[in-house]
Amino acid sequence: MEWSLEKMKKTILHFESVSKNFGGLAALSDVSLSVTEGDVISLIGPNGAGKTTLLNIATNLLPLSSGKVFFEDERIDPLPPYRIPGRGIARTFQILKLPLKLSVLENVAIGAHSRSESGVFPIILRLPRMRAEEMQIMEKAKEAIRFVGIDDHMNTITGHLPLGTQRLVEMARALMCEPKLLFLDEVTTGLNFHEKQKVVSVLQKIREQGTTIFIVAHDMSFVMELSSRIYVLNFGKKIAEGSPEEIRKNREVIDVYLGRTETNS
């Protein structure tokens, strides 16, 4: 029951009774959640709880079996996946999916794809409008690279960089589509302390700009530190939601994570 000031702020993302079945397996069952604009939300849960599935459904990489997804009060679940960035939703991936042979600058520049529009003809003929747009994209990419703090590596081949830096490249790339909502899938996994700090500071900066951040993670300290609200999934069902304090004290969540006797959940 959250009849509070929170409701005054806009709901930017809304999952309404979303379910996803793979054959006989229910990956998600009747999950509903709301994300308020400007917040930092985290989704946690044990392995296999359905977190990445939920993320894939939000970005339309997977079709849902039933339910609806609303972004800024408009249904987005029927859209083809490549239209999602244009709406203002960006995401990073748990297993890095960056073209490793390209330079950092090129990789980040790809991110502007949904925000630019030159077609093949203007490109081949190198019309002035296309050239201007190309310069704009490059400028923006350089800015994004500076924002996340990796300008030393602007022309380095992405494959040559350590994982922590690669994740920052991916974040810079995601920022290029001017997202209102940024999904981060296990963004701190595999990073050392120093790299994690860097990611956290970048996330603070992003949040200050007013972007809504949606984190899927395992790392509890990271989640607790940043989030204003946490959702917990287990076996595809939402079992808890609340502030970090409330979640910390929640019996069921503790059971699930410490693996005590499995009650019905």
């Binding site: 960035p85 991936f93 073209p99 042979k101 090129e106 794809h113 093949v120 190309e134």
Partner: protein
């Protein structure tokens, strides 16, 4: 930057050499050069589909056949001037690519490679065995020699035309590659899921790539038949499709200059080995195998790695 000036200097030298080559070329060299350049154009076409988008095309000779046969038929039956016939051939090839893309682009990678092979073979058998009353099948169609202002166009003319076309195609390839479209294509090649999540409409871009492939290869075919004054299925068979593909791999998939170079090399070797026809197949196998095992990024990639090591770029 020093590397840039060096590059410009290097390219200028090569260009100069290419421009004055006809002056001191003897005997067969011109013939090889023209065929090599045509091979380069064909390879540039496949480079866009394979080098940029990462999709296999084993049917490139089919596009060449369409370009070539269009030129031949238009000349034989409608007496169209060559330039018009060539343009029509290119357009036809592009249209066929568009048509084929409608059903082949539901596939990816291996099965797409199989589909393109089927396409190449279908075109070949259509011209070689089907409809032979019209196409004269294996006998081919002969064309008149090209005459400009009363003079018969010879090796030198075709050489410069092919050279200009090659440079044009390299230019187009670069323009595409260094744009959002090109970046989108490379993203598709590396990981489709990532590309989609960045807003890339994969089907649309693959279609563009295949059509560009068709256009360029149609040009190559149209040039070839007029140069040889002969259009026959033998030049558009599966081995030729494979040769073009090998050329792209050898030269360096993803690099326009590399692909052009690969095309020139492979097609020249192809002609040079004709008297030694017995060694053809073995030679191709050895070249392809060597490149795959030792220089998987092709010649262009090898040069790039060398230049990086030389100037210590990736250290930064």
């Amino acid at each position: 930057m020093n590397t840039k000036k060096f590059k410009i200097f290097g390219y200028s030298i090569v260009l100069l050499f290419l421009l004055i080559l006809p002056a001191f070329a003897k005997g067969n060299v011109m013939f090889l050069a023209v065929l090599g350049l045509i091979g380069g154009i064909a390879a540039l076409g496949v480079n866009i589909f394979f080098g940029y988008c990462g999709q296999v095309n084993f049917g490139a000779a089919g596009f060449m056949a369409i370009g070539g046969y269009c030129v031949a038929f238009f000349e034989r039956d409608l007496h169209t001037p060559y330039l018009l016939g060539l343009v029509l051939g290119i357009v036809a090839s592009g249209l066929v690519a568009l048509l084929v893309s409608l059903f082949l682009l539901r596939l990816r990678h291996f099965v797409l490679g199989l589909g393109t092979t089927a396409f190449g073979l279908a075109i070949y058998s259509m011209f070689a065995k089907g409809f032979t009353a019209y196409t004269h099948g294996e006998d081919g169609v002969s064309l008149n020699a090209l005459h400009l202002f009363g003079i018969q166009a010879g090796d030198k003319f075709f050489y410069y035309v092919a050279l200009i076309c090659t440079i044009l195609c390299i230019w187009i390839s670069h323009a595409v590659r260094n744009s959002r479209v090109g970046r989108g294509m490379v993203a598709i090649a590396e990981n489709e899921v990532a590309a989609t999540s960045m807003g890339v409409d994969i089907d649309h871009y693959l279609r563009i790539a295949l059509v560009l492939n068709g256009l360029l290869d149609g040009l190559a075919g149209g040039l070839l038949v007029k140069y040889l004054n002969f259009c026959s299925p033998a030049h558009f068979s599966l081995p030729y499709s494979i040769l073009i593909f090998i050329a792209v791999v050898v030269g360096g998939a993803g690099s326009a200059l590399g692909a052009a170079l690969g095309g020139i090399i492979m097609f020249t070797i192809n002609e040079v080995l004709t008297p030694l026809a017995l060694y053809h197949t073995l030679a191709y196998g050895v070249i392809l195998g060597a490149i795959l095992l030792f220089m998987p990024d092709g010649i262009a990639g090898g040069i790039r790695t060398l230049s990086h090591r030389w100037s210590g770029v990736s250290r930064r």
